[in-house]
Amino acid sequence: MTYVQFAILGLGAGAIYAAVALGVLLVHRGSGVVNFAYGAMAMSVVYVYAILRSDGNLNVPIVGAPVMHLGAPLGFWPATLIALAYAAVLGFLCHLLMSGPLRNATTLARVIATVGIMTYLQATAALRYGTLSTSVPAAIPQAIIEISGARVPRDRIILTAVVIGIALALAALFKLTRVGLAIRGAAENEHAAAYLGWSPVRLSALTWVGGTVLAGVIAILVAPITSLDPTIFTLFVIPALGAALLARFRSFVVCVAAGLGIGMLQSVVTKLSVDFGFMRNLTGLREGVPFIVIVIALVAVGASLPGRGAMAEKRPPPAPSTVATFKIPAIVSALGLVAIIATSGGWRYALMTSMVTALLCLSLVVLTGFVGQISLAQMTFAGMGGFMLSKFAEGMGIPFPIAPLLAALAAAAVGFVVALPALRVRGVHLAIVTLALAQGVEEFVFKNPHFSGGFSGTHVPAPKLFGLDLSVNAKGGGFRIAFGVMVLIVLTLVAVAVINLRRSDTGRAMLAVRANERAAAAAGISVVGIKITAFTLSAFIAGLAGTLLAYQQSGGNLSFESFGVFASLALLTSAFIGGITTVSGGIIGGVLASGGLLSFAATKWITGYSRYELIVGGLGLIVVAIRQPIGVAGEIIMNLPKNRRARRAEPPRRTSASAAGARPAVLQTPELQGGVK
C-alpha cells in the first residue's frame, strides 16, 4: 500500500483528534480557559452512556453517589439523551467553578484547577467503573469501503464528515449569529461586551455547557473505535491541543484540518517505520509527532497567539521571603536527622521518600513559584537524571559523587533546551508544550530499549563514598541511616540555596518576571536570561532528585512510567497543595506526596485509602486553585500572628477594578449582572 493510502487510513485517528480539538477550542473561545480535563470529561460521559446501554444503570462518577437502576438496558436515544444531560450538568458545574471562585484567578490557578478536575474524574472512573476495557456499542453502522485501493472502515469516513460538519457549523455560528459575535467580542474585550449588554458570565456558561455536550457526542461516536478505559481519552488532549495551537486558538476550520493532518501524519509514520528497518528502533516516533507539531506551531505562530482582554487578573500568589538567619533551616534539618534515626522500617522509608519528593517540589518552586513558568513535565527532568545516572555509573563506571552530579547536569542541559521554546510562549501555552514534552520524551526516549537498557533494565550500582556504603538497604534488613543522611544533606543544601536565591537580586528579578514580563524588561531585567536560568536550575534540582530516586530503588529497575505524564501530574498535585511559592511549601509537598509520610500513615490507619488517594488529590488541587495557589504552607504563613497584624494595618489595596470605582455605579454593574439598564 502506498503512503497516500496510509494517509487516508489515518483519518480515523485524525477525526478523533480534530473532534477533541474542536471542543477545546470552543470552550477556550467562549471562556478563555484551556480545559486540560476535556478528554477526561468526555470519558466520563461515555462511561455513563455505556453503562446505561449495557446494564440500564445510571452510574455517575461522584464518590458515594448511589447507582440508580432504571430497568432494562436502554436503547441508543434514551441512553444518549441521559448521558448528554449529565454532560450538560458537568459542563455547567465547571463553568460555575471557572466563573465563580476562579473568576479573576491567574492562568496558573486555572490550569491547575483543570488538572485537578482531570485527576478527580479519572480516579473516580477507576473506582466506580473498574479499569478494564469496556465495550461501547457502535453508534455508526459498520462496513468496509474501498478508497483508492485502501480498505477503510466506513464509520471513520462518516466520523470525519461529521467532524467537518460540526466545524463548519461552529464557524458559521461564530461568524453569522449575534451570539457568536458576542462571544468573539467578549474574547477581545470583556468590559466592552459587558457594556453592550452581553454578560461574559452567561456566554461562558453557554460555551462550557455546549463544549461538554459536544465532548459527549464525540466520545459516544468515537468510543466504539478506540477502546474505553479511564485514561485513554485524557491523552488525546495532547494532539488536540497541537491542532488548536496550529489554528492559533481561533479558527475552527483550520483546527479540524490540523487534527486530521496529525492523524494522517501519524499513519504515514507508521508505514515508514514498518518499511524502513532503522526506523523500527525509533520506537515512539509516531507518538512524538504531536509534540513535534506543537513545537513547530509555537515557533511559527507563537508570537501571534491571542491573549484575552479579561476584566481583571489577580496578582500572582505572594512568595514571601524567609528570615535572614539560617535558624529555621537548621532546626528543620536537625528535626529531620532525629526523625531518620528515631524511625525504622516503613516509617523511615516513607520519610526518605518524602525528602526526595520535597526536593522535586523545590524544583517546581523555583520554576513555577518564583518565575511563574508552568511546567507539566517535571518528572521528565527527574527521569533524565535517573536514566543518565545508570549510563554514567553502571555503563561508564564513573564513581559515586561525580556520576549523580553529571547526571543532574545532563538533566539541566535538557532544561536549557526546553527553555528555548518557553521564551516564545507563556502561561497556558507553555503548559501545553510541557505536557506534550512529557509524553514525547516518555514515548521516544524512556521507552526506547537502547536508551533504557532494554531488559536487563536500568540498573544503578550502590553509592559508596570513601569506603562508606551509602546504599539504601542495610545488611540484615531495614534501611541505612547513612542513605537517609545523604538525602537530608542534599535536601538541606538545595533548600538553603533556594532560600538564598529568593533573597538575592536574581530572586527578585524572577518575581518581577513572574508578575509582569514587560515591566520587568522595561526595568532592565533580562527576561530571557531569567527564564533560561529558571529552567536550567529547576531541571538540575529535578535531575538530582531523579538520581536519588534511582538510588532509593536500588536493586530494582527504573521504569518509564515512573517519569511519565501521569507521574508529572501527580507531582504537580503534591507541590501545589503543599505550596508552590515557598521552600516550606516544597517540604510540605514532600510530606503529602504519595508514598511519603502522610500517605504511609493514612494507608496504615484508614482502610482502602490508596483507592481514594488520587480522588482526594484532585479535589485538593481544585481547592488550592480557588484559595490562590499558595497551598498549605502559604495558609500557615498568612495566618502567623505577625502577618495577620500586618494585614490589618495595611490600607486596602487598589486593583485596576477598584481604580474604576470612581465611575458611576451603573457602569460597574455589568461585571456582576451583565447588563446596562
Binding site: T131, T353, F455, Q552, E561, S562
Partner: protein, 411 residues
C-alpha cells in the same frame, strides 16, 4: 541473558492482558491494610475455627491505567473455600494483610508494611512495581510467591521470590514451540511498542527462523488500529498478537473488519469477556495460550469449583485472572501445610518452595523450583502452556491438549 527480554515482554503482556469482566457496581473496598478473614457463608463441610494464619497479600489495584481486582476476587474465593470447606490449614483459617500498589509506585510502601507486620510470606497478584519491592522483602527474609512474573526485575533469582505459573517465560517460549510444530509458513507479529514487547517480538522472530515473519509495533496510545493492522502485508498464515488488553480487543476487531483470514493467536487476557465483546466477530476462532486452565473451560471440575466459590464467597464474575488467584492460593495452602502449618515460619516456607520438584497444583501444570525449568530465569518455576481455541464462547484445547514447554524452544 537474551531470554530475559522476551520474558519480561511476555510477562508484561500476559499480565497486562489478563482482564476480566468489569465490576460495574460500586466496589466496597475488600480490605486495605488491615487483616481480613475472607468469606464466610454458612453451612459448609469443614469450617476452620482456630487462630488465623496471616500472610501478606500485595496486588495492583486502584490505578486508573490498570487494576487487577479480579485476581483478588479469585484469591478471596479460594480462601472462602479453604476456610469453610477444607478446614483451613490444619484447622486454622487463612487471613491476609492486604496492600495495593500502583503501576509505578507503592511497591516499597507495601513491602514495608509487610515487614512491619512480620508476616511469614507475601502472596503476589499482578504487581508491576516489584522493582523496589523485592529487595525490601529479601532483606527482611520474607519469601514472595506469585503466579506470573511481569517485569525483568522478577526473573533473576534472589533466593527469596518464586513464580509458580508458567505465565511468563514459559508461555512465551511455549508459543514458539507450538508455532514450530504447526507448520505455518508466514507470520505477522503485532506487538506492544513498550520495550518488553519489542524485544519479545524479536526473540519470537529469531526462534522461528524458517518462517517468514513481519513485525508491526502497536503504540500504546493508538486512537485507531486501522493503519497499524493495515501495515500487515499480504495474507500471512497466522497473526500473533503480543499486546495486552484493552488494545488487543480493538486489534482483533480491526483484523476481522479488514478481512484478514489468518489464524489469530493471542495471550490469555485477550479472551476475557469484555475484550471478547469489544472484538466482536474478531474473537471467533481465536487461539490463545494459557498456563492456567481457561475460565471458559466450564466443564473442567476445577473451573466449576472456582465458579461456585466465586458465587458463594465473593459475588464476582469469573475471569482468567480469577483462575490464577484461585490456583495460587490453593498452591500456597499446600506449601504452608508442608512448611509446618500454623507453626510455619518465613524460613520454612522459603525452604519448602525452594526445594520443590514437580509439585502438582490445581488449574495449572506442576512447578519445580529446584531446579527451575529454565536456567536463565531461575525465579520462574513453571514453563508449561496449553493452546486453547475460543469458539462460540467456549474454549477447547488445541493440539489434543498437548503441553508445550518453554524449555523445548529455549534450546
Amino acid at each position: 541473558m537474551r531470554w530475559l527480554a522476551p520474558l519480561a515482554a511476555l510477562t508484561l503482556l500476559l499480565a497486562a492482558c489478563g482482564s476480566s469482566k468489569k465490576s460495574s457496581s460500586t466496589t466496597t473496598s475488600s480490605s486495605g491494610g488491615s487483616v481480613t478473614t475472607a468469606g464466610s457463608s454458612g453451612g459448609s463441610a469443614n469450617k476452620a475455627t482456630g487462630s488465623p494464619i496471616t500472610i501478606g497479600f500485595i496486588n495492583q489495584e486502584g490505578d486508573p491505567t490498570a487494576s487487577y481486582e479480579d485476581w483478588h476476587s479469585g484469591a478471596d474465593a479460594a480462601i472462602g473455600y479453604i476456610n469453610n470447606e477444607l478446614g483451613g490449614i490444619g484447622g486454622h483459617p487463612i487471613a491476609y494483610k492486604f496492600c495495593a500498589t500502583k503501576a509505578a509506585a507503592g511497591g516499597d510502601t507495601c513491602a514495608n508494611q509487610m515487614v512491619d507486620a512480620k508476616v511469614p510470606m507475601v502472596m503476589g497478584g499482578y504487581v508491576f512495581n516489584t522493582g523496589p519491592m523485592l529487595p525490601l522483602l529479601k532483606s527482611a527474609a520474607i519469601p514472595y510467591i506469585s503466579g506470573a512474573g511481569l517485569i525483568s526485575a522478577d526473573f533473576a533469582s534472589d533466593g527469596n521470590h518464586y513464580f509458580l505459573h508458567g505465565g511468563s517465560l514459559g508461555t512465551f517460549l511455549g508459543v514458539v514451540s507450538y508455532l514450530k510444530s504447526s507448520g505455518i509458513k508466514s507470520l505477522a507479529i503485532l506487538h506492544s511498542d513498550a520495550p518488553p514487547g519489542v524485544l519479545a517480538a524479536q526473540v519470537v522472530q529469531k526462534g522461528l527462523a524458517n518462517v517468514k515473519t513481519q513485525l508491526v509495533p502497536i503504540p500504546a496510545t493508538s486512537a485507531d488500529m486501522t493503519p497499524i493492522v493495515s501495515s500487515i502485508s499480504g495474507q500471512p498464515d497466522a497473526v500473533l498478537l503480543l499486546q495486552g488488553a484493552p488494545l488487543c480487543g480493538s486489534v482483533m476487531k480491526t483484523i476481522a473488519d479488514l478481512g484478514y483470514k489468518a489464524q489469530v493467536i493471542v495471550t490469555p487476557g485477550c479472551v476475557a469477556q469484555d475484550v471478547v465483546k469489544v472484538a466482536g466477530k474478531g474473537a471467533e476462532g481465536v487461539m490463545y495460550l494459557s498456563s492456567t486452565t481457561p475460565f471458559s473451560a466450564t466443564t473442567d471440575p476445577d473451573i466449576k469449583l472456582l465458579n461456585d466459590s466465586l458465587a458463594k464467597y465473593t459475588s464476582k464474575q469469573p475471569s482468567a485472572r480469577a483462575v490464577e488467584g484461585f490456583a495460587l492460593v490453593l498452591a500456597i495452602r499446600d506449601i504452608i501445610t508442608k512448611a509446618g502449618g500454623a507453626s510455619a515460619t518465613a524460613a520454612t516456607i522459603n525452604t519448602t518452595v525452594k526445594n520443590s520438584k514437580n509439585v502438582k497444583q490445581r488449574l495449572a501444570g506442576p512447578y519445580s523450583c529446584n531446579p527451575p525449568p529454565l536456567a536463565k530465569t531461575p525465579a520462574v518455576c513453571n514453563d508449561s502452556v496449553e493452546i486453547w481455541q475460543l469458539k462460540g464462547g467456549a474454549s477447547s484445547p488445541v493440539a489434543g491438549g498437548k503441553i508445550f514447554h518453554g524449555a523445548d524452544a529455549a534450546g
